[in-house]
C-alpha cells in the first residue's frame, strides 16, 4: 500500500485511524451489512416457513432492495414525539445508544499492524465498550413514559446482569489460553488451530451470551411483541425507530466480529492471494463474521422466546457454570503444557 503513490484524500482514508471507524468495520460496511442481514433474515426465515419472503421490490435480485425501501419509507413517515415524554432522552437517547453500540469497532484490528488503537489490552477495551450500551437503554425506556416501555427496559436490565458475567469470563478464559489481551496477538496465535476447537466451552458460553446480549431468539425478551407490544421501542416511529432497529443489529455485528477474532482465528489462515498486512486481510474477518451473523438470524425461525426469569436463570445457572468450566479447561491446557 505504501509503495503506491496516491492523492492525499485517498491516502488519508486508507490510514487505519480513519479507515477502521469510517469504512470497515465502521459505518460504511455497517450500513451495507445492515441492509444485507435484514434481507437475509427475512429470506432465511421465509424459506424455513415455506414461503417466499420479500420479493416485491427488486424481483430480479430476489427482493434484496427491500430493506432499503423500508428505510426510505421510515425516513419519510411522520416523526411522532408524544407529549409527556422526557424529550431530551426521547430524541437523543437512541442516537447515543447507536453511538455506544458502534464504538467498540475502534479496537478491531484488520491485520498485524493495521489497527486504530495500538494497545496491548485492546481486547479489554472492546469488551468494556460493548457492555456500556444497555444503561442508555434503561434511560430511553424510562423516558418514553409508557408502561410497556418500562417493562421492556427493566427486562433488558435484568438480562444485562445475566449475560455480562459469562461474556467476560469466557473472554478471560481465552486470554488465559493465549497469554495476552491484545487482539492482534490472539489472532496471530490461532494460525494453527482456531480458538473454538481449543476451548469449545468458552465458545459455546460466549455464543449463547451473545444471543442474550443482542436480543436474538430465543432470548428476544426485551421486545417480546405479544407480551409488551414492542418493549422499549413502543413509542417510537419513523427515523428514531429505524435507529433503534439498527442498534440491535449493530450490536450483533460488533459482537460477531469479536467472536471471529477470538474464536475463529480472525484473518488466519490467510489464503495465498491476500497480502499479510494492510487492510485486505479484513476480507477474511468480514466473511467469517457474516457467517456467524447468518447463524444467529437463522435461530429466529426455530425457537419461541423465553420468559425473563428463565432467561436470567439460564444466564446464571448454565452459562456461568459453563464459563467457569471454560476457565478451568484453559488453565488445564496451559498447565499441562498442551498449549502455549
Amino acid at each position: 500500500m505504501s509503495a503506491l503513490v496516491a492523492p492525499w484524500p485517498i491516502s488519508l482514508i486508507l490510514e487505519p485511524e480513519v479507515f477502521i471507524p469510517l469504512v470497515y468495520p465502521g459505518l460504511v460496511v455497517l450500513t451495507l451489512t445492515l441492509l444485507g442481514i435484514i434481507w437475509l433474515e427475512r429470506k432465511l426465515t421465509a424459506k424455513v416457513q415455506r414461503r417466499y419472503g420479500p420479493l416485491y421490490v427488486a424481483r430480479k435480485l430476489g427482493g434484496a432492495a427491500q430493506p432499503m425501501a423500508d428505510g426510505i419509507k421510515f425516513v419519510f413517515s411522520e416523526q411522532i414525539i408524544p407529549r409527556n415524554t422526557d424529550k431530551l432522552v426521547f430524541i437523543f437517547g437512541p442516537l447515543l445508544l447507536f453511538t455506544f453500540s458502534i464504538l467498540p469497532v475502534i479496537g478491531i484490528p484488520l491485520s498485524p499492524g493495521y489497527t486504530a488503537i495500538a494497545s496491548d489490552i485492546s481486547l479489554l477495551i472492546v469488551v468494556a465498550l460493548v457492555v456500556i450500551a444497555p444503561i442508555v437503554l434503561l434511560m430511553v425506556a424510562w423516558g418514553s413514559n409508557n408502561k410497556f416501555s418500562l417493562i421492556g427496559g427493566l427486562r433488558d436490565g435484568y438480562l444485562m446482569i445475566s449475560y455480562e458475567v459469562p461474556i467476560i469470563l469466557s473472554i478471560l478464559a481465552m486470554a488465559a489460553l493465549y497469554n495476552s489481551l491484545d487482539l492482534i496477538e490472539i489472532a496471530e496465535a490461532q494460525a494453527g488451530t482456531w480458538g473454538i476447537f481449543l476451548n469449545p466451552l468458552a465458545a459455546l458460553a460466549f455464543f449463547a451470551a451473545m444471543l442474550i446480549a443482542t436480543g436474538r431468539f430465543p432470548f428476544e425478551i426485551a421486545e417480546a411483541e405479544t407480551e409488551i407490544v414492542a418493549g422499549w421501542t413502543t413509542e417510537y416511529s419513523s427515523a428514531l425507530y429505524m435507529s433503534n432497529m439498527g442498534t440491535s443489529y449493530t450490536r450483533m455485528y460488533v459482537m460477531a466480529h469479536l467472536f471471529t477474532l477470538v474464536f475463529l482465528g480472525g484473518w488466519n489462515p490467510l489464503p495465498g492471494f491476500l497480502p499479510a498486512s494492510g487492510l485486505l486481510p479484513g476480507l477474511m474477518i468480514l466473511v467469517k463474521s457474516l457467517a456467524v451473523m447468518g447463524l444467529m438470524v437463522l435461530l429466529r425461525s426455530i425457537y419461541p422466546r423465553f420468559r425473563v426469569d428463565q432467561g436470567v436463570r439460564i444466564g446464571w445457572h448454565k452459562l456461568f457454570t459453563l464459563s467457569m468450566a471454560a476457565i478451568a479447561l484453559s488453565v488445564l491446557l496451559v498447565a499441562s503444557g498442551v498449549w502455549g
Partner: protein, 378 residues
C-alpha cells in the same frame, strides 16, 4: 368512566396494564392485568368488542335464514355451529335425518375440527414467539379448506346443513382427494413434533403454566379440549345425539396434567382422532337419500312453518361444547334462539389459570385456552 379508574394504579406497588384490543397479542379482547413486579395478582377480562347481537337478529329472520347468521360467530368452525342449530330445528319439526346425511355431516364436521385445531395451534405458536408454526399451520390448513370447498363450494362458511339433511352429495373423485389430503396432514404432524413439541423452549414455556386441576375445571364449567386436558372424560360427541359418532365408535382423548402443554397435546391428539373418524366414515358410508322427504327442496325450507315448541341441542365444536335452545311459536320465524358458545364458557379460565403467574404467561394461557373472541361475543 370506569376505564380511567381501572388505569390508575390502585396500590403503589402494582402496575395496571391494559392488554387491550390494540395489542399484538390480544385479539378482540381486553385483559386488565394488575402486576406486582412481574407477577400477575389480578386479572379481569373485558369482552364485548365484537358483540353483533346474533340472538336479537335471529328473531327477525326465517328459520333457514338464521343458518348463515349463527355460523358467522366462529367462521373457522362453522360446520359444527351449523349442525347445532339444525339439530334443534329438526327436533322441533320431528324429522329423522337419513343415514347417509348423518355420515356426510360427520365428515364435514371432523374436517372442520382439524382446520380449527390447526388454527388454534398456529395462533398459539405465534403468541409464544415462533412464527414458523403460525405459517406452517395456516399453510396446512389450506389443504383442508380446499377439500371442504370441493365438497360444499365455500371456503369458510358453508351453510351446508339444512333441517332434514344436507344440501348436496359427495362429488365424484372426492374420496381420493380426501385420502390424499389426510395423508398429507398425517405426514406433517411429525414435523410439528420435531420443531415445536420437542423444542426445549416450548417445554419450558408451557409445562406447568396455567394449571387448572380437575375439580376446578369442572366447577368453573370449562369445556372442550381444555376440560379434557384436565382429566375429565367428557365430549358432546359421546352423547351421540348428532352425526354418526355412535355408529363409528367414538372415544374422547384426555390428559391428566391440566397445564398448557397438556391442552396443546390434546389438540394434536384430536387431529389424529378426527383423521381416523373421517376414514372410517368414508369406508362405512351407507347409500340412500340425503334429505328427508318433508323438507326437500328450497321452497319447502323457505316457507317452512315450524310447530310450536322448544328444543335443546348440543354439539362439540373445535373449541368445546356449543348449546342451542330454540323456541318456536308456530310461525316461520323463531321466537328465541339462544346459543352459548364454548369460548364464552371458557372465559372464566383466564381468571383461574393466571393469578400467580408471570406477565409472559398471559399469551401462553390465552393461546392454550384457544379463546376466540368473536365466538364468545356473538
Amino acid at each position: 368512566m370506569r376505564v380511567k379508574e381501572l388505569g390508575k394504579d390502585r396500590r403503589a406497588e402494582t402496575i395496571t396494564l391494559f392488554i387491550g384490543p390494540q395489542h399484538p397479542g390480544s385479539g378482540h379482547l381486553r385483559l386488565v392485568v394488575e402486576l406486582d413486579g412481574d407477577v400477575v395478582v389480578g386479572i379481569r377480562p373485558d369482552i364485548g368488542w365484537v358483540h353483533r347481537g346474533v340472538e336479537k337478529i335471529a328473531e327477525t329472520k326465517k328459520f333457514v335464514q338464521v343458518i348463515p347468521l349463527i355460523e358467522r360467530p366462529s367462521i373457522i368452525d362453522s360446520a359444527n355451529m351449523n349442525v347445532g342449530y339444525v339439530r334443534a330445528v329438526e327436533k322441533l319439526l320431528g324429522v329423522e335425518v337419513p343415514d347417509r346425511a348423518r355420515y356426510i355431516r360427520t365428515i364435514l364436521c371432523e374436517l372442520n375440527r382439524i382446520a380449527s385445531h390447526l388454527y388454534g395451534i398456529g395462533i398459539f405458536g405465534n403468541m409464544i414467539g415462533t412464527s414458523t408454526i403460525f405459517m406452517w399451520s395456516f399453510g396446512d390448513r389450506e389443504i383442508i379448506v380446499e377439500l371442504m370447498q370441493e365438497l360444499t363450494g365455500a371456503r369458510l362458511t358453508y351453510s351446508f346443513f339444512l333441517p332434514g339433511g344436507v344440501k348436496g352429495d359427495l362429488p365424484d373423485g372426492f374420496e381420493e382427494k380426501l385420502e390424499k389430503g389426510l395423508r398429507y396432514i398425517e405426514n406433517r404432524i411429525p414435523e410439528y413434533n420435531a420443531l415445536f413439541i420437542e423444542n426445549p423452549v416450548t417445554e419450558d414455556r408451557l409445562k406447568g403454566v396455567g394449571v387448572i386441576d380437575r375439580e376446578k375445571a369442572v366447577q368453573i364449567g370449562l369445556t372442550g379440549p381444555n376440560l379434557r386436558a384436565s382429566g375429565v372424560e367428557y365430549d358432546a360427541r359421546m352423547v351421540g345425539e348428532y352425526g354418526a359418532y355412535k355408529d363409528l365408535g367414538f372415544k374422547p382423548v384426555t390428559r391428566p396434567e391440566g397445564d398448557s402443554f397438556a391442552r396443546l397435546m390434546v389438540r394434536f391428539d384430536e387431529i389424529d382422532g378426527s383423521i381416523g373418524l373421517i376414514r372410517k366414515a368414508i369406508r362405512e358410508m351407507p347409500q340412500g337419500p340425503i334429505m328427508h322427504e318433508r323438507t326437500k327442496g328450497m321452497a319447502r325450507q323457505v316457507l317452512m312453518k315450524v310447530p310450536e315448541g322448544e328444543a335443546f341441542s348440543r354439539v362439540e365444536c373445535g373449541r368445546g361444547e356449543l348449546t342451542f335452545f330454540v323456541v318456536s311459536k308456530g310461525g316461520d320465524k323463531p321466537h328465541r334462539v339462544r346459543m352459548v358458545t364454548p369460548s364464552f364458557r371458557n372465559l372464566i379460565g383466564f381468571e383461574t389459570a393466571l393469578v400467580g403467574h408471570r406477565l409472559a404467561d398471559v399469551p401462553t394461557v390465552y393461546g392454550s385456552l384457544d379463546y376466540f373472541p368473536p365466538e364468545a361475543d356473538r
